[in-house]
Symmetry: C2
Subunit: 306 residues, 2 copies
């Protein structure tokens, strides 16, 4: 931690006094040098909630310059916290349009857990995934921020949710959030065979590797896989079910301003509370990063800013 | 060839006197035992044109019982020529709704080349691919029926078309049909590097293997790959461009009645002539199958029925 100048807002910008921030895998990748466009020194942090100068409690949309096309971000698009200074600080300056009223039912710590993962999950499940009430969603590897939001949003929308994990503790917590079916894949590389062929309408995944091939086999004809990231670099699958069953594989990253508003509307309407794994004080930030790197959390890791 | 009973139409069916039929890869796969649901003995043939009992010149939609969902075929769906007796015969009985007026500008031989490949290409390019005028389409491995129709339809719709082949002869023929850029991949495993990153809006492919990974790298953000088949069973690709560039991989097979009508409308409006590689007489049917198995043709192989 170090002292920096308090940032000055430019035209169409506003300064937020950050009260809570939250971690994303992106922050860890950046500290490991594994992210495009790293430019140091920089204050990290994409997620934040706090107060504006005029005293409104707000949450920040970390997607900057998405652009006018709802289907895809513009070439100018970037994410708060790299290359623009982020939320792991007492003050952050952001475009005025990126500041939204904090949902009234949430604490500032809970609100700080929403932005990046909630936006990504909302676009994956709703905008790209087109999930309908009564459909079945499969969420492999429950535990990360996006996956827990995908579960919360899918249940709010009236879907049936199947989750997998290598950890019974995480599966138990997923059940408490509404998961209908839980599968521990730890002991069983053929975990997908526990599912009936055609049982699943939509999969939301970021695992890559052989997961894609497995889930294509359990999707119903006309089903879809939405991929919002990939911790393993390559993916291999049999082509046949893709074309024979008219399946879609849809890539997504972050979300548009309309997605962010839609996400907040859903959270407000159903009074959804993010899954917060643990709250750290600012001076324990390195412990928080170390915990993130272990991937042992369930839901978001939050940082309070003094 | 053998004599069989002239088939009798049931309720809502009609009998067509077939004058010309055409081959599809499916027919070859069936003779090799490589197709789901083979049930012998059976008259093969999905593509046909001829006359109804009341003397109308018609072309047959080979997609049977697609169902009510435009997104995906019903569980009852099947394709003319297996398990239902097909068009390699003097008479075929089909549902009345599957018979359409032959485009006036086409001969019966040309009309017989349309149905399965034209339907598949139309759905891939238009319904699933959503190709717009001014966009760039990449068609790897030009030569097969679907690929040549994809080129013809894309050019009719005002797109720019890039095609690849291992054969300069096929590339020359593609150029004559309107291809704007031709790439011979034969000598060059890195053929995709001849394209600018982001130059391509849509890819229509059935090759599988490493083609998918290569084309994902040249698609613009928001672009899509439509896959209508796969001659190689597995496909491997890097996940990163998929989610970072918001790409779609969309599977498709055959098409709905609305797709068939849309295809005929496009063919009529632009007076499109199918690429016909060669016309065989019925008693040379085995020569035609042998030519199909070599994959040396450019466009459709047609059979005249005496």
């Amino acid at each position: 931690m170090e002292e920096v100048e308090t940032p000055i807002p430019g035209a169409d910008e506003t300064r937020v006094r950050v009260r809570a921030a939250a971690f994303n895998r992106r922050d860890v990748f950046i500290t490991q040098g594994l992210y495009p466009g790293i430019d140091l020194p920089r204050t990290l942090g994409s997620d934040g909630a706090g107060e504006t100068e005029d005293g409104r409690a707000v949450v920040i949309d970390p997607m900057l310059e998405w652009g006018d096309d709802p289907r895809v971000w513009s070439p100018q698009a970037s994410i708060l916290g790299m290359p623009r200074d982020g939320t792991f600080a007492q003050y952050v300056v952001v475009p005025r349009d990126n500041v939204y009223a904090k949902p009234a039912h949430l604490t500032l710590e809970e609100a700080a857990a929403l932005p990046l993962a909630g936006l990504t999950a909302y676009r994956a499940v709703v905008t790209r995934g087109d999930l309908r009430a009564g459909e079945t969603i499969l969420i492999p590897g429950i535990g990360g921020g996006v996956q827990t939001f995908a579960l919360l949003f899918a249940k709010a929308l009236g879907a049936r949710a199947i989750v997998t994990s290598g950890s019974d503790v995480k599966l138990e917590r997923a059940r408490a959030l509404g998961a209908d079916v839980t599968i521990n894949y730890g002991a069983n590389p053929d975990w997908h065979k526990a599912l009936k062929r055609g049982e699943v309408d939509i999969v939301v995944d970021s695992s890559g590797g052989d997961t894609l091939g497995k889930v294509l086999g359990v999707l119903r004809p006309g089903g879809r896989v939405v991929i919002y990231g990939g911790t393993r670099l390559d993916s291999t699958f049999r082509i046949f079910p893709l074309f024979w069953n008219h399946l879609d594989i849809r890539g997504t990253s972050m979300g548009s301003p309309a997605d962010f508003r839609g996400m907040l509307d859903l959270v407000n309407l159903h009074e959804i509370h993010p899954a917060v794994d643990r709250v750290y004080a600012m001076d324990a930030v390195n412990d928080a990063i170390a915990q993130m790197a272990q991937s042992e959390q369930f839901g978001k890791i939050v940082l309070t800013i003094p």
